[in-house]
């Protein structure tokens, strides 16, 4: 796990109050390279969010590129974390990364990939993009 990600997850673990966690998460959406709404298509859409959530993941010179956008701010914040986790990282590094790190935020009410849980689906999209 890269240092920036470690720091953020440590920070989440330190915050006890769930609303404060959300405030912190809110700020993380700034870390996200925005995928402009013009580029939102069926193929960028993430299932399982009740909001519109889109990501685009590709590999450039062996490094994972991540852009995202969402109309719900919590989803955008989680995209921010995922971006910190994978954007600009090597494919090998991302391959080794397991989605469980998201649980350390303490914000996931459910671990099942499903309609109400797009968070994991976002990360799955990354995994698919690197050919897993």
């Amino acid at each position: 796990m890269n240092e920036a990600l470690e720091e953020i997850l440590d920070e989440f673990e330190e915050i006890e109050d769930r609303m404060e966690k959300f405030e912190f998460l809110h700020d993380l959406s700034d870390e996200l390279n925005q995928l402009p709404t013009e580029e939102w298509t069926d193929s960028t859409r993430i299932d399982g969010c009740q909001s519109e959530a889109h990501v685009k993941v590709w590999i450039d010179s062996g490094l994972v590129q991540f852009r995202g956008g969402a109309d719900a701010s919590i989803v955008a914040g989680l995209m921010g974390i995922i971006s910190i986790a994978v954007h600009g990282q090597t494919v090998e590094y991302v391959r080794a990364l397991q989605p469980e790190f998201l649980a350390r935020t303490g914000l996931l009410n459910s671990l099942t990939p499903s309609r109400s849980n797009g968070f994991r689906n976002i990360f799955s999209r990354v995994k698919i993009a690197i050919g897993e």
Binding site: R18, M19, K21, F22, E23, H26, C49, Q50, S51, E52, D71, A72, S73, I74, V75, L107, N109, R115, S116
Partner: protein, 398 residues
Amino acid sequence: MVVPRTDFPILNREIHGKKLVYLDNAATTQKPKVVIDAMNNYYENYNSNVHRAVHLMAGEATDSYESCRTTLKNWFNAERAIFTSGTTEAINLAAHAWGKENLRSGDVVLMTEMEHHSDIVPWQLLADDLDIELRYIPVKEDFTLDLEAFDASLDGVKLVCIVHTSNVLGVRNPIEYVIEKSHSIGAKVLIDAAQGVPHKQIDFEKSGADFMAMSAHKMMGPTGIGALLVTEEIFQSMRPFMGGGDMIQTVTLKGSTYQDNEHKFEAGTPKIAEAIGWKAALDYMANIDLEAEHSRLVEIAKWTSSQLEDLGATIYGRYSEQDAAVVSFLFDNLHPEDLAHYLDAMGFAIRTGHHCAQPLLERLGVKGTARASFYLYNTMEEAVEFIEAVKYVLEKFG
């Protein structure tokens, strides 16, 4: 009066360290201890398969299981009550066992834009098989059905499928008018009563409906069981849907004959513990003054909606006396999914999304709503706390 909250063990639950305020009752209701105990008693004292063996526990289980049917028939004043796994299976049963037998090429099934997916998709699947036409009664700006459009759509209609009370709007539909009008042209009427039966004791026979579908879990009963009520006339015109044990009279390699009672449509080992739990829920409801409770809840919903409106929300509903205490709303500057997460952090369980009624939401021009739905154990204090919480969220994230 509120039902004793101590009857519901789950209400002591803490959510993220906060007191639970459960406002997702249109999705499923909580269970009083008597319901849980009735099922435990079955599993701990007389668990046995039904209808088949002569030993004592088999007799006790059979009596208990069938007494749920009797209770159900009495509660709804219905000639025939077929157990299903819920509203959805009940409507699919109607589509297969009655629709396939009684609808012909060119016949029309008329639904409403307000239907839950469970009262749309079975008919779409049936239309794939039979060459029938599907039509939909539109919803007006005031969230009620367009009855003029209904009157004008009846040509060729053989079946009208209508939701008693909308799970999104809380609006209670004029089923009396729809039934009378439909019958006058010889069409049958199916009522999706999933959201109607939790709040009101409906007289099926008096309603004149031909079919009525419901789920136990939305009226304090367990998951995994529901029913299709039908008139004797409909019952006699239904063909077996699923085949197997318990629904047959005789089986030979050449063919089979079927039971002539409800078992004909209840293939396999039935939902025994579930029926027993449901009966306990009905017995529990029988002790509640449902009309008074309903008024109380609608008042709470009305108050809640007006408060939300004051806070800038758009409200999807009207809260007349007969409607359900379901408040659908949206804020321009706060995504409902975010709101639900923030509220969850404070202990409030609400539902957001399309509520399995995408055509209705499309008509409303939105992708989803936030929905707070109240039930017997909810209090005005909880509504007040809910509004406070929404205010807090708006201040912080709005």
